[in-house]
Subunit: 324 residues, 3 copies
């Protein structure tokens, strides 16, 4: 049930050991993580949450694709819990990536690293590393190819919960390049598990996922139809180099058809919230008026992101004690 | 008065909030910063000053151009005051820099970053970020294009004060590529404000600033004439790729005309000090005999640099308390 | 006696000041370092050793060639002793490297850096920096061109001591690209000093060192002959771009002749241990069956590596107190 890529994400006692995917994580475990994360949330301008829960623990950030924001979010989450953090930017060719990542794992384990935070642009490395990790070691995904970004899914869920107070009865619209988006997949998984009634995907045909994915989601190629009465509008980042695939010769044309403007947002529920995983392409997938407008909760997502990462780090280390 | 790029660098109560430029900072505020910095100065070989003034505070170093030395100076200043530090190297094209920097600001603010240390090769980003920063957040310039390098200006002033005991009545000669130098501009501003009697600029015609800049400075194209009776000789770094602009076909020719040798230094006052912001091009703008000679205070500048940065960090956080 | 490149590695009182090379370090000093390192060793899965011996001390990692693993090992060693650590990646052309490294040294000294950990791909920079360092400052080599990698030599010696309980009477076989290997040179030096009876080098002719090096070592071009009855088999990393020098058109051909397979390992003593400095080229110099097999102590080497680096850091700082 909690398996991912053949690796159990939970220990025998049900505690969280790895976080590789939200797929297959039990609802109670997700709700428990959200509650825990909520305890670490502090409003902007107040001092951040801090503790010594991770004193003596070493966290390694292993990023094979650049991601300043997510790396800093994990780094600060770990440091504010008292951990030592080392950052490694690893450049590996595909051919040797698997075995090199395992040797890197074994080396860092031998240096007494306890938690590996991994981002990789190819699928499978996370599961491979987790499958070979020593029993006391945890692997957390900070993004895996197009397939998974579990802490993003958790922070999205936490944000919806804070704003809406519930998941049941909500309508969530996910808009943009759903096909290539790990953010969309993790959102779909977490909202499904938490009982969101209606998840819609809105995308140009070329960005629509395969039929066997996103089961149960209504699919729209028209932004206007898809936004109607939505409670949550999740915008995705467009990668400009992919727009030609979707037959948009330039950013303006994409914006014209799929950009979230105040007028289009007005089709959603009046209290709908707007989310974006960042970094945003203002003027391509989202208008600045919306990004900075009263319905935007984009900055709150970031604050929730560090809280979620603190909760996950704290959970895997605390659970280790129980399992020892 | 304390405005820079439309942003007030001081809070309503007069305390320092941002440090973007020395232009327009009141003399008392600058003197107060120098006094404060002096408290953090420790001689080489003694343990550095340390405190917990910044415990719980997070400082982000945001550098869009490489600068190991200044980044390390700010990083150690923050760590020795007890802050958490994250380093971000951001590569942004000019076209999207402004909005991306703002989104980066908002993201880092949402991660509870309190102080942004920014270096950027284009003018205007610092002011833009400061103008949009949340009220509890401070922005410190670690170098802005050719226009401003305020902590360098402060450390230069502190060095002169330590060596000469005063500013009035001094003659300061700034030598080299004044036209493209943020170091020269910040030095000019701080020495002007602090009452230095005579500031000279010495440069080849192509490196001479526009007429409307450096008001009140005597201009020399001859190094020998310009150095005569100077109390302080500030050498600037030459960028080799710019020498052809100045009609020097090779480094030797530049050195022949504008390099500071012991013989030329002898034209200044016998107790003149020699400064350089580093990194030095030995044998181009300065002879090693001078750089390492008895009149050189170049290493002392570095030690003063970390003290100045500690003072500025401490000041903006302390003042925040008062303003809250 | 303890000189390297004209620099004494020991202080007048015999304490360790720099660690640049194992060549010329007295046997008692090496044995003392190994004993000290042993105190910092913790088995995998247990919390790492920690202390506050380096509280208030600043360590700078200055790497001019990339080396994630060694950098992280030094970084964690320093942090777990309570030091502040700054990482600098310096890219310098050969022409200006010497003087730039000295100016970097002087700058970092002026920032109150106490220990410099340097890796450089050219010989001589380490000695140059050490020769100019202020009296309270220590320089540790993290790898120097093909000539020296002293902490690797110490961790190799510690690993052998743990596994074999002694050095005398042992036969150590060093296999691979000995000619270009700093690991081989430091191993040779440390094992010679510690009284290893027989050191063999096994290499294709093109990878065989000059005759005047590795005095007293038996030389083998046949892996089978060289491995016979060895107690310790030290495999070296092959750089693929060098294989053509050694007349191997492809990795398979190298592996066929010089790869360590279980069958070949069986020629050594039944209790022989297998070592590798990492990163490994599995399937080129070593078969995965051997790398992960029961005789491999490769991961233990990593754990010993951090212990050795903690011991060296602790030693140079402790000794400084005595010399002050």
């Amino acid at each position: 049930m909690s398996e991912y890529d053949g690796v159990s994400q939970l220990r025998a006692d049900g505690s969280l050991r790895h976080l590789l995917s939200l797929e297959g994580l039990p609802r109670e475990r997700i709700e428990w993580l959200l509650e825990r994360a909520q305890r670490y949330v502090r409003p902007l301008g107040e001092p951040p949450a801090r503790s010594n829960e991770l004193a003596g623990i070493t966290v390694a950030n292993l990023f094979t694709e650049p991601s300043t924001r997510t790396r800093v979010s994990f780094e600060l989450a770990a440091k504010r819990l008292g951990a030592d953090v080392v950052n490694l930017e690893v450049q590996l060719s595909s051919r040797v990536k698997g075995e090199s990542m395992l040797d890197t794992l074994f080396t860092l384990e031998a240096l007494h690293v306890d938690v590996f935070v991994i981002r990789d642009s190819e699928p499978g490395v996370h599961g491979l590393v987790a499958a070979h990790a020593a029993p006391h070691v945890s692997v957390l995904s900070a993004g895996e190819a197009h397939v998974s970004h579990p802490t993003q899914g958790l922070l999205d869920a936490l944000t919806v919960l804070q704003c809406k107070g519930r998941f049941d009865g909500l309508c969530v619209a996910i808009v943009g390049d759903v096909r290539h988006s790990r953010v969309a997949r993790s959102a779909y998984q977490v909202f499904r598990t938490l009982g969101v009634a209606e998840i819609r995907i809105i995308a140009p045909p070329a960005f629509m996922p395969e039929e066997n994915e996103f089961a149960g989601c209504a699919r729209f190629t028209s932004l206007r139809s898809g936004l109607k009465d939505a409670d949550v509008v999740m915008m995705l980042r467009i990668q400009k180099e992919r727009m030609s695939q979707a037959a948009f010769p330039d950013p303006d044309r994409y914006f014209q058809k799929y950009g979230l403007t105040p007028e289009r947002l007005a089709l959603a529920r009046p209290d709908a919230i707007v989310m974006h995983p960042q970094p945003m392409n203002r003027g391509i997938e989202i208008a600045s008026d919306v990004a900075d407008g009263p319905q935007s909760v984009i900055r709150r997502q970031v604050t929730n992101g560090i809280a979620v990462r603190m909760a996950v780090l704290s959970a895997v280390i605390e659970g280790r004690g129980g399992a020892a």
